[in-house]
């Protein structure tokens, strides 16, 4: 005998498009006024301790990186490198492309302060790119001491657009190899009107030996 399932009109509530069913504010009735989240978790990649890279590829392993969302945020948390004084870097691969080598123009500046009291606020022309295809630095010279790592985010805007270039903004804080508190601001655009559907993170040298990178869509 087929199981008789409850349908949308089985609830004692007026259906509302896109809303979830929950309890009302008095917890004494049902309500269809509850919205789903505007910040939706998509995928977490956890370093297995020896990753050459961590890659988010649309349509692979439950990753969504297409027109479903106009904004995406990657949070990287406690990224710990194998090699001392190495940078967390990223690149993109456009739809149909074969490698992570999109042309980008970027700007970078930093603020830092050491445990010994030295400080600096400066534009970093050695970290930016002008129509370059290299991986872009988003965390600077992370130490590989047992308690050293970096955390931050990369905000990617409308990567599926085929009209505009694709903008990004990144911010990180790192425990630098030489005992500095280091904050790096990076922004730029992929100078292509092809859709960006793959993002790859890696260290400038050696492996990612610890940490997570989580991808969220903003609806």
């Amino acid at each position: 005998m087929a199981l008789s399932k409850l349908k949308y009109n089985s609830f004692n509530v007026t259906p509302a498009a896109g809303k979830a069913v929950g309890f009302d504010s008095g917890a004494d009735d049902l309500s269809a006024s509850i919205s789903g989240g505007a910040m939706v978790f998509i995928k977490k990649l956890t370093s297995d301790g020896s990753d050459d890279d961590l890659s988010f590829v649309d349509g692979t392993s439950s990753v969504v990186l297409d027109s479903t969302y106009k904004e995406y945020i990657f949070f990287f948390n406690n990224i710990h490198p194998q090699t001392d004084q190495t940078n967390l870097v990223f690149q993109a691969n456009a739809a149909g492309g074969s490698s992570y080598d999109e042309t980008m123009t970027t700007s970078t500046f930093q603020a830092q302060h050491s445990e010994g009291g030295s400080s600096e606020l400066s534009y970093e022309s050695g970290m930016d790119q002008g129509q370059g295809t290299a991986f872009q630095r988003i965390a600077h010279e992370i130490g590989n001491g047992n308690d050293e790592c970096s955390s931050g985010y990369l905000h990617l805007f409308n990567p599926s657009s085929t009209t505009f270039v694709t903008h990004f903004i990144a911010e990180s804080h790192s425990y630098r190899y030489n005992d500095y508190s280091h904050r790096l601001f990076t922004a730029g655009y992929f100078n292509t009107t092809s859709a960006i559907d793959e993002i790859q993170f890696k260290m400038s040298s050696g492996e990612i030996q610890g940490g997570t990178i989580s991808l969220y869509g903003i609806s």
Partner: protein, 217 residues
Amino acid sequence: MALSKFNYNSFDVTPVASKAIGFNSDADGLTSVSATSMVLIKTLTASSSSTLSFVDGTSDVVLDNTYPIYKFVFINIHPSGDNTDFQVNFRDGGSSYDATKTSNVFEAYHTEGDEAALGYKGSFDLAQSTAVQKITSNIGNDNDQSGCGELWLFAPSDTTFVKHFLVTTAHYGGDYQEQYYAAGYCNVTAAIDAVQFSMSSGTIDSGTIKLYGIKDS
């Protein structure tokens, strides 16, 4: 007579892990609806408050390994004293807010009289200090003056790595607008389980601080 209760498979919708049940876009069928990944944990409202503290396990505050990232949002922090700094400190065990920190700070400002500057703020950074971290400077106490912003705290429950924080605020001081950036690490491997906010002088006369957890599953 025992009440017959509905189970997960009682509804005319394909179950999807961690999703809620909702109405589809035409409101004529059921579908799975994503819950938010940014969860409001606690709101504290100041009322001539010497401090506002978020303590894990107290008053519904969660500040442990439930979430990998936490976000505090400050809304219209209004001080009792004129030109006072909003500040934060972290608890790494025991009862004192005295985690050792190294941090960097810079600011940009523009006055109503059209003077402007961008610069590193060496008097507000910390080097292996247990003192409070200032996260604004000189908020005015006129009726319409206040400060707003956010603080991200990464993996506070971790016991291997230092604890990173990122702060961005904007405030209205002596007839100027200032944006203020502070970041640093609590140089401890003990878990951070409480965060306390205060003014450099006087009280937090009014304002709201919200704590959110960011899910990663």
